[in-house]
Symmetry: C2
Subunit: 465 residues, 2 copies
């Protein structure tokens, strides 16, 4: 009632509102069994916390292509097998591996002091002596791009920016440009190094790493991220108007091709002829934290949801759980899966890779012919407070290329307001996961699987709506 | 009115309330000039932010006895002189200096992974090869004390605990014991090293350093603090029940006696025969952050308050601002001041060394004969929401020994709820200071100086109330 009155008041006074509110969702009754599974998952969690706690405690960080990621695969196969999944297997692939070494950034003049820094993925190595240069500052990649090479040559580029938290994470795309493109542009203009304000939203001395690649024939140069307190300190120092000199030491090495792999497990469907529903996450993490929110949580959520379906009975369609390898450093796992299986039919693909805070929105791209199924999915999620989003657009990280290929895709959008406080930092640890919100995620994915897998222990043919 | 009704409702229903509420404070009118100065300080800040911003930006960390602390003294003398203080001077002293080097902690078995660690002050050096040992865990210093040496010998001690935030900071005293006493006890029982859960309340990968001294003839051993996420990770790993082995590398060295000093500045009183009011802070900081809340803020607050008095006119009594040196590593500045001036009369001494969050309570120990003055002080602070605390107990950090000697002392207690999120960590940076709360602090200290300095441009004798 209060909401109705408020809306009426808004409509009476606000002229900027769209002329029409969206049409109400059709009333689609959710299968009672699915609703019960969803609500049970919301009420208690027997699996998800256990998975993310175990993976982050017993393995910890699991940088792609390292021995730690290999241990994570062993752990994953054992865990998924113990949970009762079928066809548990590793599909191996290889990737070139970059390895972090000693890191330091030091203002030499005018105000000598150390700053908190971490190297970006594929940074050039400064060697232990470091590189020294005067700072030249830009407030965006575009400003760097517009600068003459003569102004940049021999200097250390600093790119500032002001990324703010967004619920849907959309600020990451735009404000990630300094990390993704800055190093290549700086290198091509002759800079001896580059430091960017971390692509993040917190104010802790934990810089955010992340991948970048030197393209267009650019020579690798040392490329690092300052923590936000340090980036703001740098801005204050620069504001004094004196030349600022930094010694930047980012030691790293490329150790060549190393093994990785995707860990795959299934809840076999009653009708093996039907296309499977793929639910994914990525098993690898950056090396700074223990990869709890990125993406141990995602693996916990999708496996726990699939396990709850197994516990309830057999789905009509096979549910395929994929814990992708080597996502952070270039979607290697997703691309390997696509190369092997991307032409096979999939009833739907979906990935959880945005932390463990609550799902607030569902998007899907199942095609016009499956609008009723998409509506049924949205209806099953609505009791969790999840908003109906787009029916024409959905994607994911590892599954992104396959979604772009046109495979039917579902996206359960998590609240990203605090995600970039933690993303790619040492602070990505278990304590950041809220068990209540983790349960809501499992409930959402359980409901999604309940709807998309075509009914648990129901007759062989899915009911047409 | 709402508050009265609520109190009445409480009194009507609650049986656990004390039989008597405290007597109401006597109605002491605050000097209108003091009230106006206080309210102006609350409304706008011309000095405090500028001081703490300048000190933390242009000097940064200023570990006691280092070249950085020396630069801070130069900066301080220049700043206090520029602000118009008189008799700006440095009183030098020397202290033995311990210097941090390379730090790392690594679980070797059963789950290999790195942990975030920092050395405690005066830690023994492990040398670059580190020490390796099995972890033996205790949940308190008392449990370690009770353990037989045979159980500890050759091992690395881990002390866990559960310090929680408190408004008055009292949890620090009790829960700081693992840091202060743990290393000595562990060493005397033959441990090869010790790691404690940081004496802090945040969950970031920024461990809290802090001072400790090996006493009772204990041999220095490597002694470090794990960040809270790492301490909880350690507890989870230990819970698996397998022997846990750590390699602990804490390199450090003692570099001998080095200079430090107290920076002193005065607002001369109209009557030089009267004892001064001392307001202090400490200029040095730990080496990990930029010493913004500990204690750049304190120096900013007391100097800004004194400066506002200077701007308004001449106080009856001299106001002496002391930016103590080398507090963190053993109160060297406070002890040097005490040795030089501790026998001289002081009208009152007070120190701001608990961050920049709002003052919530005033305690004083001015003696029974000065109860009216203490009441007047409390009355002048009440409009800032500051609670009347004790009239028999007050202290401070550098001024603590002099307070214990019996010098008249005032304590403006700041809200410490989030102080131990930042204390002694890399996260102690400018962005943590809330300008509005900083202003409230300056307003409180301005009011305090207005009352205790005996009236600004008033007749020579303070009015007896």
């Amino acid at each position: 009632m209060i909401r109705i009155l408020t809306l009426a008041a808004l409509l009476a006074t606000a002229t900027a509102l769209p002329a029409q509110t969206p049409p109400p969702a059709p009333a689609i009754p959710t299968d009672a069994r699915v609703a019960a599974l969803r609500d049970a998952a919301l009420a208690s969690d027997e699996y998800a916390w256990d998975i993310v706690e175990g993976l982050t405690t017993e393995v910890g960080q699991r940088m792609a292509g390292t021995e730690a990621e290999a241990r994570a695969r062993v752990w994953a196969v054992r865990k998924l097998t113990a949970l009762g999944f079928s066809n548990v297997r590793v599909e191996p692939f290889a990737l070139p591996v970059w390895e972090r070494g000693f890191e330091s950034a030091e203002i030499l003049a005018p105000f000598p002091q150390k700053m908190a820094i971490t190297a970006l993925g594929n940074s050039g190595s400064s060697g232990p002596a470091g590189v020294t240069g005067q700072i030249i500052a830009f407030d965006s990649v575009d400003a760097l791009r517009a600068a003459p090479a003569s102004a940049v040559r021999g200097k250390i580029v600093f790119i500032d920016h002001r990324m703010m938290p967004t619920q849907d994470g959309s600020s990451y795309g735009q404000f990630g440009a300094p990390r993704r493109q800055g190093p290549t542009i700086a290198s091509k203009k002759g800079a001896v190094g580059i430091v960017v304000r971390s692509i993040g939203t917190d104010f802790h001395r934990n810089p955010h790493t992340g991948n970048q690649n030197f393209t267009d024939g650019a020579t690798p140069i040392p490329a690092g991220a300052l923590s936000l307190p340090d980036a703001e300190q740098m801005a204050r120092i620069l504001k004094r108007g004196k030349p600022v000199t930094m010694r930047l030491t980012l030691v790293s090495r490329n150790i060549g091709s190393r093994p990785s792999g995707n860990v795959i497990a299934e809840a076999p469907g009653r009708d093996r002829a039907l296309a499977p529903v793929l639910v994914g996450c990525h098993l690898d993490s950056w090396d700074l934290g223990t990869g709890a929110v990125d993406d141990g949580a995602g693996c916990a959520i999708v496996a726990a949801a699939a396990k709850r379906i197994i516990d309830a009975g057999r789905p009509l369609r096979t549910i395929r759980v994929v814990w992708f390898g080597a996502e952070e450093v270039g979607l290697f796992g997703g691309l390997d899966y696509r190369a092997r299986h991307g032409k096979e039919p999939h009833h739907a693909i979906a990935e959880s890779d945005f932390g463990a805070d609550r799902v607030w929105r569902v998007d899907s791209k199942l095609g016009a012919a499956r609008k009723a199924e998409a509506e049924a999915l949205a209806a099953a999620l609505a009791p969790l407070g999840i908003v109906r989003g787009s029916f024409e657009e959905a994607s994911g990280s590892d599954i992104g290329p396959m979604a772009a290929d046109g495979l039917p895709t579902v996206e359960l959008g998590q609240d990203g307001t605090r995600y970039f406080d933690l993303h790619h930092t040492p602070d990505d640890t278990l304590d950041k996961i809220d068990p209540a919100q983790l349960r809501q995620n499992v409930a959402a994915w359980t409901a999604m699987l309940g709807v998309l897998s075509g009914g648990i222990e129901q007759p062989r043919r899915i009911r047409r709506r």
